[in-house]
Amino acid sequence: MKYFHLVWAALFRRKTRTFLTLVSIITAFLLFGMLDAVRTTFDSGSKSIAGVDRLITSSRYSIIQSLPQALQARIATVPGVRDVAYANWFGGIYQDPKNFVFSYAVSPNYLDVYPEIELSPEQRKAFDDTRTGVVIGPLLAKKYGWKVGDKIPLQSTIFPQKNGDKTWQFDIVGIYSLGKGAANGMDQLFLLHWKYFDEANLYARHEVGWYIDRLASPDDADRVAKAIDAISANSDHETKSQTEQAFSASFAKQLGDIGLIVTAIMGAVFFTLLLLTGNTMAQAVRERTSELAVLKTIGFSSRGVLGMVLAESVLLLVFGGVIGLGIASVLAPAVSKGSGGMVNLPPVGAGSWALGVGLMVLIGLVVGALPSLRAMRLNIVDALAGR
């Protein structure tokens, strides 16, 4: 730390070059921040803190197959299950097929098994009492400017009403907020009453899409899942129960090899970055050969010179990297907003920052290694003579 000003001065010896290198580093970490944010979204389902005590029971054969509603009572009798809620996919669109709304028809106790969905008691009561009532997520409310009291017509792409009409009328009675650890995407749900849905729709009577089983203890998950699946074994509606994390992770994996592709891109970026910065550092040391020799002459140890050159390259990377990640943190939400929900980039999280800073230091050390070794081994006499 004593020589910080020296390192700092060396960094800005050639302003143009340092600036140019900085921009390369900034862009690289900007890219890293954005891509890592995307990557985290893909496995965020499996990382959320809430939901460790919930199982999802769905049809074993396919996501499009529904289960009989009668199963609820039987699942509830399995030891270790505290509460069973259920939901059905509604497939709602608002006005235009592009405005897809994540809408589920849910059982009355759905909000109880999701404590991270926070609704004021009055709004909760209004929801319970209104047949056509819906509660919506904060992001959805913001997106379309919906308020409590609004009447919203929603078209279902799957379920027409009994009279053949595909447009359903709903009353917004509540806008929830999200507690800690809520999974990604939960801020834009549209929850309607399953009972209303079940009575009014043309096709699916007494059928539900999936069950959410709240457990008494998360450690019991495996045993309870097996017990639930045993209920319907060898019937025509066999089930598969898995933790909520596993359920959403399997969904994310289906989007394909995105994780792999993202990693490949990051690999290419960092390889390039390493090369650019390494080259700059090598140049900087080559140029300063005589300066370093003077330092050594006036008593700096070889190891001290090594440390200073290393510090310089780490500083350069951390400096640029923090700016880059900072820009990414600001830009990611802006992009999500600008694209109107088409691209949903989450803000750069603490995990990405930690990983990013780790990478900065690591790359700084790798890049500085060769030049600093060169500086350490410098022979004073040769260097001063310009040989």
């Binding site: 140019l20 862009t27 595909k166 509606h237 399997s250 394909g256 090899d257 891109i265 090369l275």
Partner: protein
Amino acid sequence: MKKFLSFLGNLGLLVLLAVVLGVWTRLSMAAVGVLAVLLILWLVFFRRGRQTLSVTRVGISTLGQRLGASSVIVIGIAGVVGVLVAMLAMGDGFAATLAQTGSDDTAIVLRGGSAAELNSVLERDNIDVIEQAPGVAKTPDGKPVASAEISVVANLPKKSDPTVDANVQIRGVDDAAWTLRPNVKILAGRRFKPGLRELVVGQGALRQFAGLEVGKQIRLAGQNWTVVGEFASGDSHDSELWGDRQTVASTYRRGSSAQSVTVRLTSPEAFDTFKSALVGDPRLKVDVSTTRDYYAKQSEGLTKVIRVVGITVGVIMAIGAIFGALNTMFAAVAARAREIATLRAIGFRGVPVVVSVLLETMLLALLGGVLGGFVTWLIFNGYTASTLGSNFSQVVFQFKVSPQLLWTGIKWALAIGLVGGLFPAVRAARLPVSTALREL
């Protein structure tokens, strides 16, 4: 004042650069060829050109001494071009797979507003009306060439990781499906027999999912099905499993309903007749499109997202690479400052110096572009990937590194080279000779 003037000059240079880049992105291959020929003519037949050539020759012959720095440009640009081309190849491959599916002389009918087969339901009486509509081709014995189809999604383990279940599309088809899609060819085994729980699998599905080999059994909705054949179609049907419609419908308790009806039209022109007959029929509320339009539309959303992401990432990387190139070329110019000053002292003008530094950078950039494109082609051309399509099932597609994309990549590389070389070149030409001669 002097500073202000040079600032103005730089500003002008920037504007000029923006204009040149704008024009450059729109240039066709032929136009670029003409430019290249003009450049060569100038280099060979004009005095300034010949001077440029000799300065460039000196620069290139000393490249070996600056191997590390020069390879930074090459590899940096190769990285940009590689990533860009790979992303675009992914989008193109996905779009191509769906675009190849379908034709102009077959039409698909879905329930109104369904967008995808998964959401659609057509009742038996609707199906009859659709099959009897005008414009539908008939077999010699007078039956309409139409296939009512059911498309359901099943969970099967993936081959790459058997613990991961992914969605596969199962299509229940009528007899006419084989006539409707003549490109579907049986590669091994045989077709399924109507009435039996038999399936034929597409080659793409076979590659992605475990346990679909001919002769094996899989469980669908609690019943055992036998795989009796493998087929290839070269389009999105490759990701599907086909079985008899009635049998699939009974397995999934769909009664006599279907989700879509595909018909062969008497000719592509008959589509309008067919469509207006169905749309005008008060008994029906359906969407009608040619199969080509239907499948092309399904790829629209994802292809757009991939393109936007690819180009955004490409632009950000390109900025990084430009600064890398700038850095390297500034250093190269600084290293050769004395030599350049000497040349100018003995009468070489600014233009040959500027152009020669530019040429050198663009040459390195071209090398990078070719390298990046080649490596991407080597790795990704024909690379098979899969993703979730609009029917909630896996669509298998191949990356397509076309010459068109490689050309785009090379254009990007040259543009990066131009930007990265221009400022150092101008600096080389502007450096006062006396200062430069004294420089280390």
